[in-house]
């Protein structure tokens, strides 16, 4: 709740490709109250101190996934991280790690979006159904099998957290693998075989070295590490059953 206004120092990692050779920290002194988020601090800077600071934001309520950034070195959504937690020592905000900085706190999302598009993130129906037949039946228990993994807001904090992605950008990465698992685990879907093709490669599930930091930083409890683990299991089973099943596994 509101109280007397205090001043906090926010250091922002600036990078303006037209003028900066490399990113530089710039410091701002921001008046704040205890209810204010880091995002509101940045908005204050943009509105009243320096209009040229660039960052993405929209919903302010941790659902649109726009405002991820490194806050004191940890990937967080700025809308649900509060300035009071960094008082009186101040805080440092930087663009998300492991992705090219476009400008200031804005990173390139191209790699993430390309990967997301590549895994067939849509229902490939097990049994086609017409609209007249109504909805597929799916019990709450069947829904529970994938619901958690459908809650990813694409904020990419897990990519900034993932040491493997930092070393090898070809690694499909936690968020997209969780999404892949979301569709594989959906009782309406029959596309697992098509999608597992991706999971076999080193860039897929097996690229993960099970550090688990992705799940720790996830603001929505998606637990990508768990999704990856389940799929390592599935793809191992799939791999071995191909030798013992006539005609191979899944097809």
């Amino acid at each position: 709740m509101a109280d007397t206004e205090k001043i906090i120092e926010i250091q922002v990692l600036r990078y303006r490709p037209e003028q900066d050779k490399e990113p530089v920290l710039q410091s701002y002194k921001v008046p704040f109250t205890d209810d204010m988020s880091v995002l509101q601090g940045l908005q204050y800077i943009k509105d009243y101190l320096d209009e040229t600071v660039s960052f993405r934001w929209s919903c302010r309520m941790a659902i649109c996934g726009s405002c991820g950034m490194m806050i004191d070195g940890k990937p967080k959504l700025s809308c649900k991280t509060f300035l009071r937690e960094y008082y009186p020592q101040g805080l440092r905000v930087e663009a998300l790690a492991h992705m090219p900085i476009e400008r200031d706190l804005i990173v390139s999302v191209e790699d993430f979006v390309t990967k997301l598009e590549s895994i067939k993130p849509y229902i490939i129906p097990k049994e086609p159904r017409t609209l007249e037949q109504g909805e597929y039946l799916q019990t709450p228990q069947q829904r529970d099998m994938y619901e958690q993994f459908s809650s990813c807001i694409n904020c990419m904090l897990c990519y900034a957290a993932c040491p493997q992605y930092g070393l090898n950008p070809k690694f499909t990465g936690p968020g997209v693998l969780a999404l892949l698992h979301r569709y594989n685990a959906d009782s309406r879907d029959g596309g697992q075989a098509e999608r597992l093709g991706l999971g076999y490669a080193d860039e897929g599930f097996w690229g993960c070295t099970a550090v688990g930091y992705c799940s720790e930083v996830c603001p929505k409890g998606v637990d990508p590490a768990n999704a990856i683990n389940q799929n390592k299991m599935n793809s191992a089973i799939n791999y071995f059953t191909r030798f013992v099943t006539p005609g191979g596994a899944d097809k």
Partner: protein
Amino acid sequence: MEVFKADVAIVGAGGGGLRAAIAVAESDPKLKIALISKVLPMRSHTVAAEGGAAAVTRPDDSLDHHFNDTVGGGDWLCEQDVVEYFVAHAHEEVVQMEHWGCPWSRTEDGHANVRPFGGMKIERTWFAADKTGFHMLHTLFQTSIKYPSIKRFDEHFCVDLVVEDGRVQGAVVIEIATGAFRLIQAKAVIIATGGAGRVFRENTNGGIVTGDGMALAYRHGVPLRDMEFMQYHPTCMPRTGLLFTEACRGEGGFLINKDGYRYLQDYGLGPAEDKPRNKFMELGPRDRVSQAYWHEQKKGRTIEGPFGSVVHLDMRHLGEAKLRERLPQIYELAEEFMGIDPAHAPIPVLPAVHYTMGGILAYGNTASSLPGLYSVGECSSVGIHGANRLGSNSLTELVVFGKVAGVEAAKYAKSVSITNPGAIEKQAESVQARALGIVNQSGGAERIAVLRTEMAKSMESGCGIYRLATDMQATCDKIGELRQRYKKLKVEDQSKVYNTDWLLAIELGYLLDVAETIVHSALKRKESRGSHQRLDGYEQRDDANFLKHTLAYYNGDSPPRIEYGDVKITKSKPGTRAYGAAGVKADEERKKQGAANG
């Protein structure tokens, strides 16, 4: 300037734009679609819708019930033929969403579950926990990836439409990453840019909800209809305006004042009962519930908080398990943003601006008065919300009319060809020069944030829950003044790369134009209806003079020209709008009259 040749261009890639894109792709895979969004599609504000999507589902429900709830809820300012189409196509569209993977919450036997919602007679709101908009948006976005004919222009900001030969033939966009201009040539354009809640101070809307498409259509002579009707959502977080879904009350939450009293019973919504009852008390429509808050505040029965007077949303009696299952996001918001555990303490709430009922005048097929231009969603006024939208009708609107817009725009695109590409490119050049002019103008000293703040404060005082001519006139004057000062805006940032300062400046221009239509439409509507309530001698609904749509036309530097249009009545004659026990009585009388007449 780089030119992309599309058949159909869609501006906005939220629920409406994505559904339209899929409809175009499915109606003819040969049609090239340009899907333009100033953000990544999954950032669109559809993402924040919580409660659900209405569609008649249960055997004890009927299309007539949904129709009557919607038309009565809209205080008879709805286009009734459009509402009939809407309720009849709602179910197939939510089923379509299910087939595409939307994780609807289920009953034990595996069917889609439905929950109660404000102003709805029977439970018919499909939901995905309390993240329905999020799930619909991501389902549509991910499904859209299947269609190779959809070419996305993510993070491309639309600065103008191109109108040539009396019809729309494209849009000019800025690639935000580089500042490069592109001409998207198109035979049909669908606007799906969402509402304009950011013209107000305290609102539930994301920062991107700045009325862009409304302003663009308006500047090209398309009227904005019924803009005075802004919805205040009764249960929002103080200061930030973040939303606590109506489903909190659908699941059984109470609204109480400082004495712990369920005050809605004093405002024609009672009697109070322990269990939620459809169209009673907390399940009343949003306009009435927000108005009751206003009266409570005047009576001194609200609770004084650091960010204004609040009432309490009390869900303690629902228990933690149910709250975690049905309202997980609400739980999280209360805990993380307010430090409140809603299973153990009530949540302080107040009304905030939530939804723009009015918008670009769209006929039932989503077309506008400008040939080739279509609109869908909150930016559009296709006619189903009237003077007050019922919660859970807008998500359904996105998919029902998104499909219609896609099909209609595809049909139109196939019937025409680009006539004069040279002239179109020339227009695009001048659009570019104008947009660059905002950055390059010298001598300006006005700050974006200052103008935006003055606008939002003035709109709140002039166009709040209750309205007075003197306040509205002051706001008219203020917005006029701000539009002049806008010409002296100073844009600090001169970069080409992610110049958000520049985009904020352009958005402010959109906001001011839309704000002006809202307040002028409000001042001239001398009656009280739905979300437009006056306290200056016009406290009653006046069907004789104002059973009319307001149409605001762009008028250059001057305020908008206000005209009126007829309301389409098919089967529901304007009657008494009542809820609670009074509503039951009114329904019975209506039935008796119907029996006597027929």
